[in-house]
Symmetry: C2
């Protein structure tokens, strides 16, 4: 990479002072009482010399870069890529550019990205934190960098956060399966200490209990985040082989889509022999022969509220922490309706 | 945001010279012949004071930030989010962090992102350029910043680029439909001056011509990038209403998924009454009742080769431009096989 062109280089080239160049390129030529001709000459030189304003220097001066950093857990998951798109649009409306990264559910990648974004002086961060990243988030807060968690949160950490009521959403979905005649309801979730995942499992378990259903341990399949396709297929096949459940609740869209492949290969008949409900949406759910009933998170609200919360936090330098719960709805379709 | 802690602050706190602190925090304590105790004390102070190494300062000194900027056209499109994931993994293997943005097929957003990433001193950029962004890419090259285009490219611009043979891929898919008994083959593409899109349409048109098929103008539907859902549905419905085609080639996965909804609502029977082939993959294609035949781009190669090309370009400061064509294959399934 060539050495960056400085204001001084331009000043030397045009034969004026560096201060004058600075005034002109920062749109303050009136204050410097420079002639229009000279201002034009300086601008032309800056363009010809490929001058690139240094955002970092500018941010040191003005305190803001008008950039938001976004870290999602897995950009190839449509839940996160849809949210990213919404956050970008909302940020753009507010004059912010979003740069983002994907932590791939890995703690070290999350640390790399947080450092990379902070060192690039973003004004604030929106993060879907990975497992055990509580300390990383705490450090960011301690540095005084505005941060909003999205989708996930740490109950013991006092942070801005936007999320759905995971417990109630899972509870309602389970109740819906029971109301539709399913009796032995299983769940596929991630093996995770993350609160949103624990709450989804708890909501499911509590609903079974409240309905007097004695769940067997076999009914809950917990998948490691680092599973391979084969691991996943083998675990789900083993679970289904036991023939102890008549329906399944999927804790995420990625778990559901993978499971649908297995269910198809076993020729299980949905919804007559087996009921299905998943968290989140997918085109795959629409085209599955028995369109899936799903828990629709309000992505628009999740995204917009997190941007709003972050911008408020950036502008007011406020220390008031807000936790916002956005609604979810159960969209009932064929896969959960026994004929 | 609090003021950043400097090396000088740490030096003052510990009571040593700034140079000594710099040596220790840059892992060069041996050169400074500092005692282990003192080195530990300096590190502890840095941690307690929340010292954040300034990557920019470091990059000015060492010339590299070990960060790659990635700009995709639309992160909510699974084609791009899958590629983003592959690029991140490949970059990580090589010690690079990726920060990215989504231009949403908009020229102004693309400019904002390019500026934001360049001003944050990324070592180089991987870009899926939006329509008419040739000048933006040219400017980046003129600044001496390594850049690799992916998926799309500008024929008149001498840039590193990784892409598939779009012309041949479309030609082969069209030929496959003809070989399977379809005679009036339509295409849904984007109205775009981007070369990859033009090549896809050309390959389709040439194949019809080579087979002596006289295509009507009605057979080719060009969709504006800024269409609404309703626009899209109306245009495709109008095309299908004419009843002049017996099959469709979709130029992208997003066009295909939207079209499948329309095709389902019209109760068109695939593949007996109507054949389908799409570029790219989707879970939706797998679960559609007649699984879609698709043109599989080798995403792994697209992603890895672009990272490799960029890193080579960063390390060697080379001016040799490479254009790499990666293979695509037609994955034949039910949707293109007339019974």
């Amino acid at each position: 990479m060539k050495k960056a062109v400085s204001l001084k280089d331009i000043a030397n080239n045009v034969g004026v002072s560096t201060a004058l160049v600075s005034y002109v390129l920062n749109g303050k030529e009136k204050e410097a009482r420079v002639s229009k001709q000279m201002a034009a000459k300086i601008r032309r030189a800056a363009k010809e010399m490929n001058y690139q304003p240094n955002l970092i220097a500018r941010s040191l001066k003005y305190g803001k870069t008008k950039t938001i950093g976004l870290i999602v857990a897995d950009i190839s998951n449509p839940f996160f890529s849809s949210i990213a798109r919404i956050i970008e649009n909302k940020a753009k409306e507010n004059g912010y550019t979003v740069v983002f990264g994907s932590s791939d559910e890995q703690l070290d990648k999350s640390a790399d990205l947080l450092n990379a974004l902070i060192n690039r002086q973003v004004d604030g961060l929106i993060v879907t934190p990975v497992e055990n990243s509580e300390e990383q988030i705490r450090e960011i807060q301690e540095k005084g960098i505005p941060v909003v968690l999205i989708d996930r949160y740490f109950p013991k950490l006092n942070t801005n956060a936007v999320f759905i009521n995971n417990y109630q959403s899972a509870y309602n979905a389970t109740q819906h399966l029971i109301d539709n005649g399913y009796k032995k309801i299983g769940m596929v979730a991630y093996q995770s200490s993350l609160e949103h995942m624990k709450q989804r499992v708890k909501g499911y378990e509590k609903c079974l209990k409240d309905n007097g259903i004695n769940a067997s341990k076999d009914w809950l399949l917990k998948i490691n985040y680092n599973h391979t396709e084969t691991d996943f297929r083998d675990s789900l096949n083993a679970m289904l082989e036991k023939n102890t459940i008549d329906s399944l609740l999927f804790a995420t869209v990625s778990l559901a889509v993978k499971s649908l492949h297995v269910i198809n290969s076993r020729k299980i008949k949905i919804p007559d022999d087996f009921g299905l409900i998943s968290f989140d949406e997918s085109d795959a759910f629409d085209f599955f022969y028995s369109p899936l009933t799903f828990i629709k998170q309000n992505l628009q609200q999740l995204g917009s509220q997190s941007v709003q919360l972050l911008i408020d936090s950036i502008n007011n330098n406020t220390t008031v922490i807000k936790k916002i719960e956005v609604p979810s709805t159960l969209v009932v379709r064929d896969s959960s309706k026994k004929k």
